[in-house]
């Protein structure tokens, strides 16, 4: 049974590599662009692989705590897979969103070209992500974390413009920088922990560590900063608003919805499963972490508010929203962590919806700026409704999902013994929510109510094809519905939080 865990990892990786290799050889033979028939085959193949893997991954994840030692990378460090609560949550979210985005991109990628490369990489990244969530120890996680960076990088530079290449390099180098900061921490944890296997509550050996608290805290802080790069935390967030907008919209959706969450996953894993929250509670590390998270929340919103380009605005919004999660984690309290996990799930759905909508707009009209979206509601009302629902959820207007997570985050902050931050945190969250409303609503407002200036225009309907619209609608629906029926989630996350705290 546990051997099956390899299937959702390696099936997409192998299938994706196959597509990539065939595309390279085809290019050598100077074959012309994809024919319609070949394109259909490609789509069918990718979809089949992805669906099979996703279903398998979810089924496996919910069929108990499986573990599998693949082989020994070093003498005492195996490549070790293990499914636990956190992994289960992440793999489910990832699989669902990834599949939805994949279906969307079948249509979308037609206008971007290079579909073989895109879908090949898309599958590979999925395999890597599943492996990342399945990872049972820190080194395995680090291995797939690096692979995730490397394989997702070509998604960013997909269109091959100079701007995209520079953005991809920026993404790569920031991520590498983060990964190495994380590695710095891993090195020290390896020395002072009894094992690097993820254990709720941490494995830090108090006897070994005594006398070395100073360097350990520095190491842990380095890890937070490092993995925080992927999560777009200050001060290393700058790659995110550069890379997300230039990538093709499905890729931005995947990056913003899923890949940044992997930074969060890495932080959860190292703080709650290796170091143990008790070690950093009340230290300068926790304080600094909270300060950084709150600053990012506020700054991200502010920047998003000022940003005229829609996708960039959404990217800044991601910066801000992920730090909601990080703030929740930094409070080191059960409620706050529950809130954080909720926000992980909700934000994944919400942000991919928003990016996909932005993609639809680009696909259909080529417009990128918020200014140009006036009257969008007349042209593609269904799309805009999806956008609106997702926005509501992100702002946190009940009963949409964002409200629930923010509620728990705020409550957690108030409960936790974190001094001034227990009230400062909620205040910042609130202000940021207002700003969120400020940067998301204008699109809806002007979209449905273009005002007089554009009255002469005859709005022609240009709703996207259903294969594009359906996944978006599905994701938007999820974003709302999860907020309406949040109880199973809250309960489950509460258990996870209780197990580690």
């Amino acid at each position: 049974m546990s051997g099956l865990m390899l299937l959702p990892v390696f099936l997409p990786i192998l299938a994706g590599s196959g597509i990539l290799v065939s595309s390279v050889t085809a290019k050598q033979k100077k074959a012309p662009d994809l024919t319609e028939e070949a394109r259909n085959k490609l789509h069918l193949f990718s979809a089949a692989v992805l669906v099979v893997s996703a279903v398998l991954a979810i089924v496996l994840a919910w069929s108990g705590d499986l573990s599998l030692t693949l082989f020994y990378l070093m003498k005492d460090i195996p490549v070790f897979f293990h499914i636990d609560g956190i992994g289960r949550v992440f793999v489910t979210v990832i699989s669902v969103v990834w599949t939805a985005i994949c279906i969307y991109s079948f249509v979308y990628m037609k206008h971007e070209g290079g579909e073989c490369r895109f879908f090949g990489l898309y599958l590979v990244v999925y395999g890597v992500l599943v492996a990342l969530t399945f990872s049972g120890n820190l080194v395995t996680m680090y291995l797939f974390y690096e692979l995730m960076t490397l394989t997702s990088m070509p998604l960013v530079l997909h269109n091959g413009s100079r701007e995209a290449i520079m953005a991809a390099l920026k993404y790569l180098f920031y991520s590498m920088c983060g990964a190495y900061l994380g590695l710095f921490g891993i090195f020290f944890l390896y020395r002072y922990c009894s094992s690097l296997t993820f254990t709720p509550g941490g494995t830090l050996d108090p006897v070994l560590a005594s006398g070395h608290e100073g360097i350990l805290l520095i190491a842990i802080f380095a890890m937070l900063l490092g993995f925080g790069v992927k999560a777009g935390m200050l001060p290393l967030h700058a790659w995110l608003p550069t890379a997300h907008p230039v990538a093709p919209s499905p890729a931005s959706a995947a990056l913003s919805g899923i890949i940044v969450k992997c930074g969060v996953l890495a932080i959860i894993r190292s703080v709650y499963y290796i170091v143990g929250p008790d070690f950093i509670r009340g230290t300068w590390v926790q304080t600094t972490w909270m300060v950084l998270a709150l600053m990012t929340v506020f700054l991200g919103s502010m920047l998003a508010f000022r940003e005229p380009v829609l996708k960039k605005r959404l990217a800044y919004s991601t910066v801000s929203q992920i730090s909601y999660i990080l703030f929740g984690l930094s409070a080191l309290s059960q409620t706050a962590m529950t809130g954080a996990l909720l926000h992980v799930v909700f934000h994944a759905f919400i942000k991919s919806t928003l990016f996909l909508v932005a993609g639809i707009v680009i696909f259909q009209t080529g417009r990128t700026k918020v200014e140009e979206l006036r009257g969008l509601g007349k042209e593609m009302p269904k799309t805009l409704w999806c956008y609106t629902f997702a926005s509501l959820a992100l702002i946190g207007i009940p009963p949409a999902s964002g409200f629930v997570s923010k509620w728990y985050l705020a409550q957690g902050a108030l409960e936790a013994e974190i001094g001034i931050f227990s009230w400062l945190g909620p205040v910042v969250l609130l202000v940021s929510a207002l700003l969120t409303a400020g940067y998301l609503f204008p699109v809806t407002m002007h979209g449905f109510f273009p005002g007089k200036s554009g009255a002469q225009n005859v709005w022609k309907k240009q709703e996207p094809p259903y294969r594009m619209l359906l996944p978006v609608a599905f994701l938007a629906l999820m974003a709302v519905l999860l907020g309406v029926f949040p109880n199973p989630l809250i309960q489950y996350f509460g258990q996870i939080a209780a197990s580690v705290l």
Binding site: G160, L172, F173
Partner: protein, 490 residues
């Protein structure tokens, strides 16, 4: 097995190499066959020797009194000799193809083969005098290889190389004399040959002498501020740069520092002295310095050479930690970096050979036309950065494990330096790959219509190196275990 085999494996390539310009080869192929046969024979003998290791020493020749040229094989020597003898035949294979366009092949292969023998001499040295002699000889026999093209640039480079190497040897000489005078023996003994009783009040001199000696020997390992010879020497034909300046010569420098630190001076007298700290600080600096110079460099081979500078200091960092764990890290990086760097140099060489382009900015789109070469180049870049699953990660891990275990703040700084260097490595290596594979939308592929992958003689070594990188990366247990057993005697 008789210990005389040591002399055979060392003298065989030296003598057979010296014969190359004298022998009347009918054509180029015969010379290639002869050279490869000599190299393979030597490697075969080396393997044979490594497998049935003779315990006793072999004295080739005595200078005066206790000074002799003598050979013995111990664990450390096994590692170096094994490494060299695996890589040499592969590199020669590559060189046969590459040297077609360089000319003067007879002279080239003469010195190339002689260098093999001399390098083995360093690996098999029983005592510090023998090692010193072969170290000096290595300078001399590799000089013509750097000068090979005889251009002004090459001459200047060889001059720098010579000055630095001889100068380094002059300071290493100091340490050698000290060991000769105050050591219980000049042989290499795990744990060192100095004793407090013999040293008496000279004990306070040990750190200073060690510092000079270490710095002297590590000139070949391009320790700051004596690192600029290595990038300059990049003017040599690529097989030389790859094999000598990524493996034989520079690793010989690192190897000699291991010998003097662990086997002559002994860590007992050095640990915690100012000499250790000064050297460690310099090494840590070099790690970052090499990388930042690589970042600035636009010439492909020189960029790789600067990267070697940095990576050699990884090895030295392991050495200067002065713990058995540190030596394990150093040795593993010695092996793994050799494989990685020779591979990336060969890729660079393939580019130069096929297209004559030397600069990074000329490589746009090459990945499309030379997918195998650039694919392998990318993999070796990843290995160099230390991506898990490839061998670079293992050695980095071992080094850092030792550094963290040493609980020395400067070593912590070293850990940070290693990671900074890894980041810089990512930048300067991957930017090449990205450029090669993703030249940009408006790039006109017809301008590089002539570019294509080289033939099997060049590709075969590359593929083998990639396999090695993955093998060591995924299955490092046996190798690291062997290294640990070697250092266990310390």
């Amino acid at each position: 097995m008789n210990a005389a085999i040591f002399a055979v494996v060392i003298l065989l390539p030296i003598l057979a190499g010296a014969l190359i310009p004298l022998l009347p080869f009918r054509n180029r192929t015969w010379m290639m066959v002869y050279t490869e046969a000599v190299v393979l024979l030597t490697s075969g003998l080396v393997f044979l020797t490594l497998l049935n290791r003779p315990e006793e020493a072999f004295v080739l020749f005595r200078f005066t009194g206790n000074l002799s040229i003598s050979f013995r094989l111990d664990g450390l020597g096994t590692v170096f000799a094994g490494l060299v003898s695996v890589l040499w035949p592969l590199a020669s294979l590559y060189a046969f193809e590459y040297m077609k366009h360089e000319g003067h092949e007879k002279i080239f292969f003469m010195f190339y083969t002689i260098t093999y023998g001399v390098t083995l001499g360093i690996a098999l040295s029983e005592d510090i005098v023998t090692m010193y002699c072969f170290y000096e000889m290595l300078t001399l026999v590799t000089l013509p290889l750097i000068m090979h093209t005889l251009t002004r640039e090459a001459v200047l480079a060889s001059r720098t190389y010579l000055y630095y190497s001889l100068g380094g040897a002059a300071f290493a000489f100091i340490g050698m004399i000290f060991i000769l005078s105050y050591g219980s023996t000049s042989n290499f003994v795990p744990g060192g040959v100095l004793s407090a009783a013999v040293l008496g009040d000279k004990r306070s001199w040990v750190p200073l002498i060690f510092l000079l000696c270490f710095w002297g020997f590590s000139v070949k390992a391009a320790l700051f501020p004596f690192s600029s010879w290595l990038p300059q020497a990049g003017v040599a034909p690529t097989p030389v740069t790859a094999l000598l300046h990524a493996v034989a010569v520079v690793k010989a420098g690192a190897f000699t520092t291991m010998r003097i630190t662990y086997y002559s001076f002994g860590t007992e007298f050095l640990k915690g002295t100012w000499a250790q700290y000064v050297l460690m600080a310099v090494i840590v600096f070099t790690i970052v310095y090499g990388c930042s110079r690589a970042l600035k460099e636009t010439h492909l081979k020189r960029r790789l050479a600067w990267s070697t500078v940095s990576n050699l200091s990884y090895i030295l960092f392991g050495v200067i930690l002065m713990t058995p764990l540190g030596l394990v890290g150093a040795l593993s990086h010695m092996i793994f970096h050799a494989v990685i760097k020779i591979c990336s140099f060969f890729c660079a060489g393939a580019v130069i050979y096929k297209t004559g382009r030397n600069y990074v900015h000329e490589l746009n789109g090459f990945g499309r036309r030379m997918p195998v070469v650039f694919g392998i180049f990318t993999i070796s870049s990843l290995a160099l950065m230390g991506v898990p699953g490839l061998c670079g990660f293992i050695s980095k891990w071992n080094l850092v494990r030792a550094a963290v275990a040493s609980e020395n703040p400067l070593a912590y700084a070293g850990v940070a330096a290693l990671l900074i260097s890894a980041l810089l490595t990512a930048i300067y290596m991957l930017s090449i790959s990205v450029r090669a594979f993703f030249p940009g939308r408006n790039f006109d592929m017809s301008t590089i219509q002539d570019v294509e992958d080289p033939n099997w003689m060049m590709l075969l070594p590359l593929v083998l190196f990639v396999i090695l990188m993955f093998y060591f990366g995924l299955h490092s247990g046996p190798v690291v275990g062997a290294l640990e057993s070697i250092t266990a005697v310390l």
